[in-house]
Symmetry: C2
Subunit: 303 residues, 2 copies
């Protein structure tokens, strides 16, 4: 069990080899602030792709006592992307992070069949959550890449999250496939998919986790609500992973937790050869920093 | 602006005429506990439909100092329902509440074209929220009646909520139609509907409110996020009403706010001749009590 984010950071501090983070188009203040902090603390070793003359003053501002890391000098963003992805393929980088470029540009390169770094059947964006109202770190997925995933895509989303939690040391994560109800209703396709995912887990087609679904958020997160309604499941009241049916539900849930739930989050794209951090401009600096920590530790253990 | 739930209760306390609440199949402890409290405080005048011999001992337990209210003696639940709905139609009741019967049984009777109490184009379930992380009472709708509402149904859901907020004294409620993004994307039907609802509002087809959409939860609820992303709207950071695209998103959001957001909620079904309270068994007693308060005040002003 991961009690809170500090335990993830402790795992990273305890690593014998410092993970390498590739920062793509690194001349971006918001990104570099978080990168410099993690590097100054000795948690990661950055490799900066971009224009040295723009990167250097930003670095000096945020990490005045630490020498500038390796800079792979490239004029334009396309070369920054291709250099970094080549370094992922050669095993030189453990995780990558988006700097001053559009997410779409980076993702297009990541999923390219010839020159990309795809690994799983589907890439998914996962947000880990530390909430004052829940007893451990949990995650919500997918919150941003697949709009309305079908069953096979949901399976990949689920497996990506299980893979990440296992890299964090949670041997057998508990997975809740969310719906509005617990009963399968053919008029509610997400309940049908949820039941099928549970069945795949029971048959051994989805491994290394316990899947429950369909299950509503309250029976899932509140053991008292589950008890009152006579609902019994090892996942009820104790999930690690929440799989949402679509991008709207995922986006609303994660933003509800942060904007009106006092939760902290961090996140990464899973399913590529290494974790990819693409924090939003509006994310707090702390979220960006924790996303680097999450990507570094899970990327290093991404065997 | 409604700062918190206590202001709703103050409005009810200040009424000159005490609203009548019909309790259908009243021999239910969970329901009666909340009803007895509101009645003891003089906020409502209950009319209890059901079996006196079962009702009386429950009443005496929860309201020992207050005389048993009017009991309309009926053996079976169907007669309780039809008596109460007839009393709504005759103007005798200001709001009704489900006791010991299935929600589906009550709702089927409510929507019956001949003997029901329908008023709007669509009934919707609204949850009002008091959150420690938001500056005023807001609501989420629809959270339980329509699975995947189409545009006209969303319009009705929105108008039901506007009607309720106006009954609470919010003259021009601000409405956010939620999606995962702010840009209309034909591949995301909820963004198209949201833009159409905004257009209807601008053309005067939806009145007495300001509609914004599509808008994501964070730009909607967090003025800082809106500022960072350069998003400007009178609704950003200040909505009263959140319209969700479907039952799954609504259910997940409201349960996230209560289970992992420390929020209090209350709610009612809107769009009938009077508000209908159908609190879940697993709702806290406080939620049931506040739902009665909400239904009583808005039902009495339901002109």
């Amino acid at each position: 069990m991961l009690k809170d984010f500090s335990q993830i950071k402790e795992q990273l501090s305890a690593m014998t080899k410092t993970p390498r983070l590739g920062v793509i188009v690194a001349q971006d203040e918001h990104t570099m602030e978080a990168v410099a902090r993690a590097a100054t603390e000795g948690l990661i070793e950055p490799v900066l792709y971009g224009r040295r003359e723009l990167i250097e003053p930003i670095w000096e501002r945020f990490a005045p006592e630490k020498a500038l890391p390796v800079v792979v000098e490239e004029e334009d963003e396309q070369h920054c992307v291709s250099d970094a992805l080549a370094d992922v393929r050669s095993g030189h980088l453990d995780c990558i992070m988006k700097g001053k470029l559009e997410t779409a540009v980076l993702m297009k390169a990541v999923v390219n069949k010839d020159t990309g770094i795809r690994k799983s059947n589907a890439l998914s964006m996962l947000a880990a959550v530390q909430s004052p109202y829940y007893h451990k770190v949990f995650c919500v997925t997918d919150i941003g890449l697949m709009m309305y995933p079908d069953l096979q895509q949901k399976k990949a989303i689920l497996e990506n999250a299980v893979h990440l939690f296992r890299a964090l040391g949670v041997e057998q994560p508990k997975v809740a496939v969310l719906a509005a109800v617990e009963k399968v209703n053919p008029k509610m396709p997400e309940t049908v998919d949820a039941a099928l995912l549970k069945e795949m887990n029971e048959k051994g087609e989805i491994q290394d986790c316990i899947v429950e679904g369909p299950i509503s958020y309250d029976l899932c997160m509140d053991p008292e609500a589950a008890a009152i309604k006579g609902y019994s499941s090892p996942v009820a009241g104790d999930p690690d992973i929440l799989v949402v049916p679509n991008i709207v539900a995922g986006n609303i849930l994660i933003k509800s937790l942060t904007c009106t739930g006092n939760a902290k989050t961090c996140g990464a794209i899973c399913g590529a050869q290494v974790p990819v951090v693409i924090s939003s401009r509006s994310s707090p600096a702390e979220d960006k920093y924790m996303s680097i920590v999450l990507a570094a530790i899970t990327g290093s253990r991404n065997l």
